[in-house]
Amino acid sequence: MTDKDAGDLVISVEVDDAVIAERIVRLLGNVSGIRLSSGSDAADLTIIRQSPPESDLGLTTREKDVLVLLAEGASNKAIAKQLGISVHTAKFHVGSLLEKFDATGRTDVVAHAARLGVIHL
């Protein structure tokens, strides 16, 4: 058994939202075996808030790359060439983008792509 196993679990709360941070501190503050980091001591783990995804469609990084090229009117072959992937893989990503756009009833691909990066026109 190391010291770490024996001692309190030190948790640091680094949530930018003050209200949420305070609630976590209040909830965890009275739990035995857990000690909240005062800032100076090293924490065993840190509670952070995952930044919300950039796109509400939940696109993967690769899908975002493909989306921008799609908006420029690139063919599957051109997308494959540009991203260094196979045409088959490009087709797969395009298919999954179509699904995601269709599922949310969105049609303005250009507007979405424009939020993600530079579009060459």
């Binding site: 051109a78 395009v94 179509l98 269709d102 424009a114 060459h120």
Partner: protein, 298 residues
């Protein structure tokens, strides 16, 4: 079942098979590298098929109803509308006339395709019939038509017929459903493909990023300039902010994309540009987007 129902069903069945029989000769199967599709004779010696289902390279064969495979050549393809045009050395194949109109939602539609020289058929209803739309790749499609049929493997490019047996569209696979490319779109795109081998797209030669101006209006900032492109020739610089086109404020990068349709090449647009806080109008003559691999922007 009553006699009357039986009669009605028999009549329906016979009508459908008659439509298929009448159309079969105008439909072909299309065989390209690792890919199977259907197609139809658009004009003598010219076959329209689904672009998505046509291999990019390698040999292409077309097999007409009851016939042997014929070698075909690619005339052109447009992925924005999913239309590809092939040429065969057989002007005797009967042409499938395309209707410029389409049946209303709920109407019956028979999809006639082909597999290895024999016809295939599917029956369904037009599950959606709405106005024109723009595909993900920026293709203008004259009507949003959907069918509640699932296409068999190699079924893309089949012809959709109405109850009278008139072809009104080409069936292709959309996300989770079968969509139809309307006859009107096919006529327009195939004619351009026959003439030019491709659907040209307009080009500014600019890398644009959507931004908001300090007064919170949508704008497009010039992040990169193709030195040989039309915008560079007109004096647009990196860092310029485009806020308007032809006298109207832009709603975003898409407003600029809309100005780049196939007919835009050679026309001029007036861009309202903010540079160092001062606005000015710059006239740009729209060029043609370089083909893949030719231009610096791909």
């Amino acid at each position: 079942m009553t006699d009357m129902t039986e009669t009605a069903l028999t009549a329906l069945s016979q009508s459908i098979s008659a439509v298929v029989e009448r159309t079969a000769g105008q439909i072909v199967s299309v065989i390209s590298h690792h890919s199977l599709a259907c197609g139809f004779v658009w004009r003598p010696g010219l076959i329209v098929t689904a672009e998505e289902a046509l291999a990019e390279e390698g040999e292409v064969f077309v097999q007409p109803h009851g016939g042997e495979r014929i070698r075909a050549t690619r005339v052109g393809r447009d992925h924005s509308t999913d239309i590809a045009l092939l040429r065969v050395d057989r002007s005797d194949l009967p042409v499938l006339p395309l209707a410029g109109t389409y049946p209303p939602v709920g109407a019956l539609s028979i999809v006639v395709g082909a597999a290895e020289g024999s016809p295939t058929a599917t029956l369904g209803v037009v599950s959606r019939a709405a106005g024109s739309w723009r595909s993900m790749r920026g293709g203008d499609i004259d009507a949003r038509l959907e069918l509640d049929v699932s296409l068999r493997r190699g079924g893309q490019g089949a012809a959709a017929l109405d109850a009278q047996g008139n072809a009104f569209g080409m069936a292709v696979r959309g996300p989770r459903r079968t969509i139809l490319i309307p006859g009107k779109t096919i006529e327009r795109v195939a004619a351009t493909l026959e003439k030019h081998g491709r659907i040209p797209r307009g080009y500014f030669g600019l890398g644009l990023q959507a931004v908001r101006t300090s007064d919170n209006k949508p704008a497009a900032m010039v992040m990169s300039v193709d030195a040989d492109g039309p915008a560079a020739k007109s004096g647009i610089h990196q860092g310029d902010i485009i806020t308007g086109i032809n006298g109207s404020a832009i709603e975003g990068v898409r407003s600029l994309m809309r100005a780049l349709g196939p007919d835009s090449i050679g026309s001029t647009v007036e861009l309202l540009v903010t540079r160092g806080g001062a606005s000015s109008t710059i006239t740009v003559m729209i060029g043609e987007r370089p083909q893949v691999g030719e231009g610096p922007t791909g």
